[in-house]
């Protein structure tokens, strides 16, 4: 192999032409295809942020595993948090196909160099939050992610197919938690409503700032990584939520929320974006705790990973000796 030339690499001009053709024809770009560096970087950033979000997202729900109020709910919650770890792993694998290894990405997470979804910097003080996270947070995630199943980068799109299937299961479980509470005692109903009040606006902000303030989105849409604008997705989410909230019997905390016959959509009130940016800057309820928790787990487990590596090395050396001897 000629040094410096990766297998499958082609010269830039031909590569770019083929890349554009793949994008235009709604085909999939695969790891061995030529791609612009900016496309690669955008994808690595987006996929690893998504992976980090899954990993950090284990904590607000993990918080209730030991206290889940029924064994059935405990089992569902454990399985869900575990699924999130699994999603983190798929996504890391997808990002690795772009040439950034998992340890590097994880390091960026725990040093705070890489971002994760701000939503996980909110707290889960009540059991109802397990419902709200499923219904609202996973609900918003699905609206975001379903179009990603058609993202132009193949490994990412395929990971999203699997993840979306599980997320929609999670959303239904969240809905069921809230439904059980709304069918319960007065204090259970109050718990559910109070939780929805806290999570509604942050969930709407998960789609990112209004289109006017989101200049990078355009490029992602041209590359067919993103298929809909932030505001389009947010509208779709609100339209989906309203009938579900009615079914639950919870009130969505927005006095301006109402059906607009003309638009064929629900109108909704302004969101407080200053809060969003403040949380993003590190001043949310749990930014430090989330990172410290994962970092402590990682550092506290360093000796375990070292042992596993040392053992694997010894095994490999022994196997090589055996081969040599035979």
């Amino acid at each position: 192999m000629t040094p410096g030339i990766r297998p499958g690499a082609v010269d830039d001009a031909a590569g770019e032409e083929r890349f554009l053709e793949l994008i235009t024809s709604d085909s999939r770009v695969e790891p061995t295809d030529w791609m612009p560096e900016a496309y690669r970087k955008t994808l690595v950033r987006q996929i690893s942020q998504h992976a980090h979000s899954e990993i950090i997202g284990m904590q607000p729900e993990g918080n209730w595993i030991t206290r889940a109020p029924s064994l059935k709910r405990k089992a569902i919650l454990m399985a869900k948090v575990q699924d999130e770890a699994g999603h983190g792993l798929y996504l890391y694998s997808a990002a690795q196909t772009l040439g950034t290894d998992r340890d590097t990405m994880f390091e960026q997470l725990i040093t705070g160099a890489a971002k994760y979804s701000s939503i996980f910097n909110y707290l889960t003080p009540t059991w109802a939050d397990m419902g709200s996270i499923g219904w609202l947070v996973d609900g918003a995630a699905i609206c975001n992610q379903v179009p990603l199943c058609r993202a132009s980068y193949g490994p990412y799109a395929r990971a999203m197919v699997r993840i979306c299937k599980e997320e929609s299961f999670h959303q239904r479980q969240g809905f069921e938690i809230l439904l059980a509470l709304m069918n319960g005692s007065e204090s259970q109903r109050a718990m559910a409503q109070e939780s929805v009040n806290r999570w509604y606006a942050p969930a709407l902000m998960m789609f990112g700032p209004p289109d006017a303030d989101s200049p990078n989105s355009r490029q992602s849409m041209d590359w067919k990584i993103k298929r809909f604008s932030n505001d389009e997705l947010r509208q779709r989410f609100v339209d989906m939520l309203v009938p579900q909230a009615e079914a639950l019997g919870v009130t969505l905390p927005d006095p301006d929320l109402k059906w607009n016959e003309e638009r064929g959509h629900y109108d909704f009130g302004e969101l407080d974006w200053s809060e969003f940016y403040d949380v993003l800057k590190g001043n949310g309820q749990a930014n430090a705790v989330r990172l410290n928790t994962r970092r402590a787990a990682h550092e506290g487990g360093a000796w375990v990973r070292e042992a596993a590596r040392a053992y694997a090395d010894k095994q490999a050396a022994a196997a090589a000796d055996l081969e040599l001897a035979s």
């Binding site: 064994l71 405990k74 575990q82 770890a85 938690i177 005692s185 042992a307």
Partner: protein
Amino acid sequence: SEPVARYALGLGDDALILAQRLGEWIAHAPELEEDIALGNIGLDLLGHARSLLSYAGSAWGMAEDDLAYFRDEPEFRCHQLFEQPIGDFAQTIARQLIASAYFHGLYRSLGRSADPTLAAIAAKAVKEIDYHLDHSSQWLLRLGLGTEESARRMQRGLDAMWPFVDELFRRQPEIEELDGIAVDPASLRPAFDQLVPRLIVEAGLSVPTTGSARGGGRQGVHSEALGPLLAEMQVLARAHPGEAW
């Protein structure tokens, strides 16, 4: 029948309390793969617990959650091994090794129980336990033969858990009337003794020579770790007695 229900309750409590402990690891494991693996094992055990407690409760008109959330400490019937704190990863692996080897023998025998419900629960559990035993055996080797520190910790973990081995295999007078239905714990000891010490030695470690804790979990005598565990596990359910979730 009442004695069968009491037998199922003890087994169910073992699985429940160990599952609760494993749940503490999730989001705190040394690597994501272990968040998943320990979560999986915990989920399997929680599944066993739910089957066993539901079956036990059926004799008393109680649901699994009545038993899990509304009994006080002396009414729990788990062996003390399962109550112990998770400790570090090595201590968790030490307990999983002992527990999995115990369940491995237990559920294999129980699969032949004359009680069809117990036999069915056990038969389903057996396959899962095979994976649990494999998981802990692999980690025993990695930690025992990995680094100096991991070997030291793994030995400490084994030493800390070993005093609770004996209780698992003690003859239980209360199940003597359940011949053909329950498994005599003492009958499981030879297989355990053949398997676990060999694995420990293969991992370059020493079979602990510690004394045996007095135990008494099946009679409601629990170690000091159970109280705080139950306080946390039961707090929400007890704040809303009689409610559905």
